[in-house]
Symmetry: none
Subunit: 213 residues, 4 copies
């Protein structure tokens, strides 16, 4: 009542859902969907078990809301990227990689694809949504860039569909090795350095033969 008493709880209906989703993302990524207890999510968000159900009707709904919430900005940015296909293909590829790199620094952003990946078996609908809204668009955009580069003679005559794996793959590897398996934990390269190297290798190739001889 007076100074002493801090109330057992506060009314913050507006903020709760997001706080719960934040907590849920954290725990789902760390432990997986099945191994995360609703009570854990609740207490992580500073709530009691029962209160969770005021905002979400089930644990599954939490998961789905979580993915949907995170998907929107990613899908938006992906769409934006897909539309910005003007200009030098090489520069566009670099722009895409830089954009991705800028997102890499946020572990929460990285967490989502991993989560979707982990639970793809149990939530095929979400995996499909993710694929549709993010992967298909992003890959399609990159393919278009590569195809144009090949057509314009800027790129060598590669298969655009396969070349996409060379653009995206190293980024994937970087995330996986670093975030998940904790490789180079102490001396992890900065995202910028990685992107620089990746772009350099991608554009010039590893071999000296083409250039030297």
């Amino acid at each position: 009542m007076t100074e002493s008493g801090q109330p057992k709880w506060r009314r913050r209906a507006g903020e709760r859902p997001d706080e719960l989703l934040d907590a849920a993302l954290r725990l789902f990524v760390r432990n997986g969907f099945a191994a995360t207890k609703v009570e854990d999510i609740a207490s992580d968000a500073g709530l009691s078990k029962g209160a969770v159900y005021r905002y979400f009707s089930s644990k599954e709904e939490i998961f789905e809301s979580l993915v949907k919430r995170a998907l929107t900005p990613i899908a938006d940015q992906t769409s934006l990227m897909a539309r910005t296909s003007q200009g030098d293909p090489a520069m566009l590829v670099k722009a895409v990689l830089t954009m991705i790199a800028s997102r890499l620094v946020d572990p929460n952003t990285v967490a989502l694809p991993r989560l979707v990946l982990m639970e793809a078996g149990k939530f095929p609908a979400l995996a499909t949504a993710y694929r549709r809204q993010v992967l298909d668009k992003a890959i399609g955009a990159l393919e278009a860039i590569v195809r144009r580069g090949v057509d314009e003679g800027v790129f060598r005559p590669v298969d655009p569909r396969l070349a996409v794996r060379n653009i995206v793959g190293p980024v994937l590897a970087h995330i996986l090795l670093g975030q998940i398996f904790g490789i180079d934990e102490d001396t992890r390269p900065t995202p910028a350095a990685f992107i620089e190297s990746h772009f350099d290798i991608l554009m010039n190739g590893l071999s000296n033969t083409g250039q030297g001889d």
Copy 2:
């Protein structure tokens, strides 16, 4: 049943564990560890629930045995690869990629890393083991190859640690897009075609500039 002369069960104690592990891998990959019931593993292996405990003392032990069993040949091959670092670095890289490609055709082999990835949170020891026995060695070997290539002037002066991501990443992307997200399901490129493209791009780079001028 007993009339026919066929006993209800056969004494095949020797094969049972492996059959159980096969079934477990299949189910763990599809549904995750937590969502897979011991009874499902048992019936998939043609056994009853209770009999499983004659071979494994717990569900967790099944998982651990599973990963360990699958790890051994991979680790062996990785070690072998690491030691065979003689010869032209470019050809070594291609050999490694070809080796990997040969393994890509077996979905069971692809399943393991994904499983480890999925359950890394609950079984950190296994993730570490996987990292130590497979990733560290394989990456170390590739790094060494790249480093030698750079030293010998065969490769441009790239950072070997980062370049490794360009070698491994596209393979990763190929698996992920194909196996998990089911992209290009109808017209999926063959592993060989992918490796060819990957190696080509990796060695020559995308850009025409180096060659054209």
Copy 3:
């Protein structure tokens, strides 16, 4: 009750409990005590969940108040009936049946006994109260009527205790078949027609033998 003057100490808030009890009766009868949520009662009465506890200290108290409130007028009428045992026994029986019939048209009145019946296990005190205040009195009164009828030679020498079942039972059957099992839903007989038939059969019997011979 006493129509004299409007007591000033009765505030309008005094109507809330009754509205709540109305809502509660409706829902308890439809869904049972356990399956009815306090929040449902509240919203049915146009109130919020928390406000209910300003009027009743618990859900059980709602139930008890409900039965007590409904019991009073029934018990009063029953007592009245019990005291009005003057006159022709046959006419008295008809008067009772007519009185009951007049109440049959109100589903709310029918609802109470059913509710008491349903929850007799959980609220034995209420079932006992109902029995004491309604059944015992009503049955006692009917028994007295029948006994007098037998003594006076107006009725045949039946056992009054058992004959009561023949008076009350058909009414019960009528309610049950109609209200609860929904039999003859389209062509349900009017209460008056039923009472007429019931009284006719009761007084004359089915068989022609008595009359024919």
Copy 4:
């Protein structure tokens, strides 16, 4: 192992379902569906909570199985009754009443209709099934008997549909007063005495007028 140890449990898969249904009927009738815990049913049947789910997939399924199991013999007997409509209508009515009386001695049989009645709101399908398989048939049969009696001049010209309530109702009242409200607990009349009285009143009517004049 030896003489001493009585096992924690026995394998009696065959008997379990019926034992569980027996226990469930007992408890549902006493406390209602909602207030009966699965664990109570289990321990009443000498089982643990979890074992129940080997035989029934949910608490609701227990209830449904229970009603269905009890319905079959009742429905069979009802059908039998419906077909045996030969002979003197009065004697047929008595036969039906006697049959019912014979079932009244078994509290389990009496319990079922009450249970269906109590939970009709939550399990409308079962109430409908009960109505279809028992009430409709029984009432139809009685109506036919009465109608034939009227046609043949054995009964007075009553409305068969309404007269049925006079046949069935007193039985209902007898059950309700006795079994549920515990009236006349000490000096409860035997079923046979009740049926005798009921039939006597039904056939001859209460009043002396018809006979006297």
